[in-house]
Structure formats: C-alpha cells, structure tokens
Subunit: 139 residues, 2 copies
C-alpha cells in the first residue's frame, strides 16, 4: 500500500473511532496502556484527551512525554499506531475549549476544577495495518 | 471495589475478548501498541498469542521482555491492564499445541514454518477499571 493511501485510511479510522488506546512509559520501564475517549483530532498530527490531573497517566507523561496512540477496527481488522509526545495542559482557555456537557461526571468542580487537565498528543510517525500489510509513514 | 470482585470481573472481560492490545518497548524509548488475537489464557496469569518470527514485536520482546496486555469493553466502559513479561517461544511442541486451521494465512509453510512463533505473556499485576474506579491487584 502506498503511503498516501495508508494515511487516508488512517485518517478515516481515527475519525470513526470514539476511543483510542494510549501508550505510556510506566514505572520500572514497563509499557502501560489505557483506553481513553478521543475528544478531538487535527489530521494525523494531533489528538486531544481530557483526564484527571491526579491520574497516573499525568504523572507518567510529566516524567516522560514519550507516547503512542492506537486506533483499531476489530471488524475490519485494521490498526493505526501513532508515535510521538504527550503534553499535559492546564491553561484555562484550553480547558474551556475542550469542556462539554457531561464532563462534570469526571470533574465535579466544573471547567475550573484543578483536577481537570487536557492531554495533547503530537505524532511524529505512524504505522497503518490492513490486510496483513504494515505501512509506515512520517506525520 | 474489592480485589476479588475486580479479579473476577477481569477474568470475565478477558474471556469475552477476542483481541488484546499488546504493549512493548519500541525503539528510542517509545511505548508501542498492537492489537493481537488472543489464542488462549490461563486465569489472569498467562495469555498466548501467535506472531511472525520476523515481526517487529518479536525483535522488541527479545531485546526487552517488559510488556503489558490490555482488554477493554467499549460498550460497558471497562478496561483491564495486565503488566508483566513476554516470552518468544519456538519449541515445535508449543507451536503444534497452538496451531489451528486458518493459521496458514499468516504462516504459509504450516506448523513448522520458521516464521511462526508463539508469544507467552505472564502477568505480575493488573489494574481493572469500571465505573470510574481503578482497582489494582497482584496476579
């Protein structure tokens, strides 16, 4: 598969996905994984999530921003791994921009809740898998 | 949630899952993720996968066996992360034991295909997530 086709199919897989698997470097050198709701994306380059400031992932990404984000369609047997860096953002304007109804379940104090943070992932490269073929590309 | 309840629900989530997300340490310290078919499990302790011997994951686990395996139910919003070590096995008896019809798609030379290997994951601990609550336990 050529890279442009892979990138187009990768964008479609991202757009069709409500969740992403987020990879981080956990304690003692073990890779960790967590399913998180994808709030917003910008092409293949950016993915935003919200999280509790007190969560393990925030501590892990502050210690080591190296990250991956994985999308999969278990019916079509396709997968997309994006590899890059995760930033922890607590700027009030950013928090306002990504706030939506229902967020109170996770952040009871509302948009200014100090336990509400935004994670911004930026991809450097990706790998799209479909029909037994891996296609790697720069983002 | 108490640990015994979490472990029981974790076992049910594993049993109900066809796929697992496998976390590895990729090049340059980045965590990698790949969706793989779960062949077999033994309690919460062991998970077996098959893979191409020539694959990136085999090279990564030979270099660094630290691994995680993640199961999620995106309808119930539950997740299970198991953290431990991955072994790459190419013993003929093991390969025979886990061979099944259809494997030829991945390993055209059959059960003795040198490009067919088994990955055996052994968990040390786990974290089960449900209803906003994380429960961590030893395995």
């Amino acid at each position: 598969m050529n890279q442009e086709t892979a990138k187009q199919l990768a964008r479609e897989l991202m757009n069709d996905s409500k969740f992403a698997m987020v990879g981080s470097n956990g304690e003692e050198g073990f890779p960790h994984i967590k399913s998180m709701i994808k709030i917003e994306t910008e092409g293949l380059r950016k993915v935003w999530f919200s999280t509790n400031t007190s969560s393990k992932r925030v501590a892990q990404f502050r210690a080591n921003p190296k990250a991956s984000v994985y999308f999969t369609d278990q019916v079509k047997w396709t997968g997309l791994m994006l590899v890059g860096h995760m930033e922890v953002l607590d700027d009030p304007e950013i928090k306002e921009r990504f706030w939506s109804d229902g967020c109170e379940i996770y952040y009871p104090l509302g948009v200014t809740d100090p336990d509400y943070s935004i994670l911004c992932f930026t991809a450097d490269w990706g790998n799209y898998y479909a029909s037994l073929v891996n296609t790697t590309f720069e983002v």
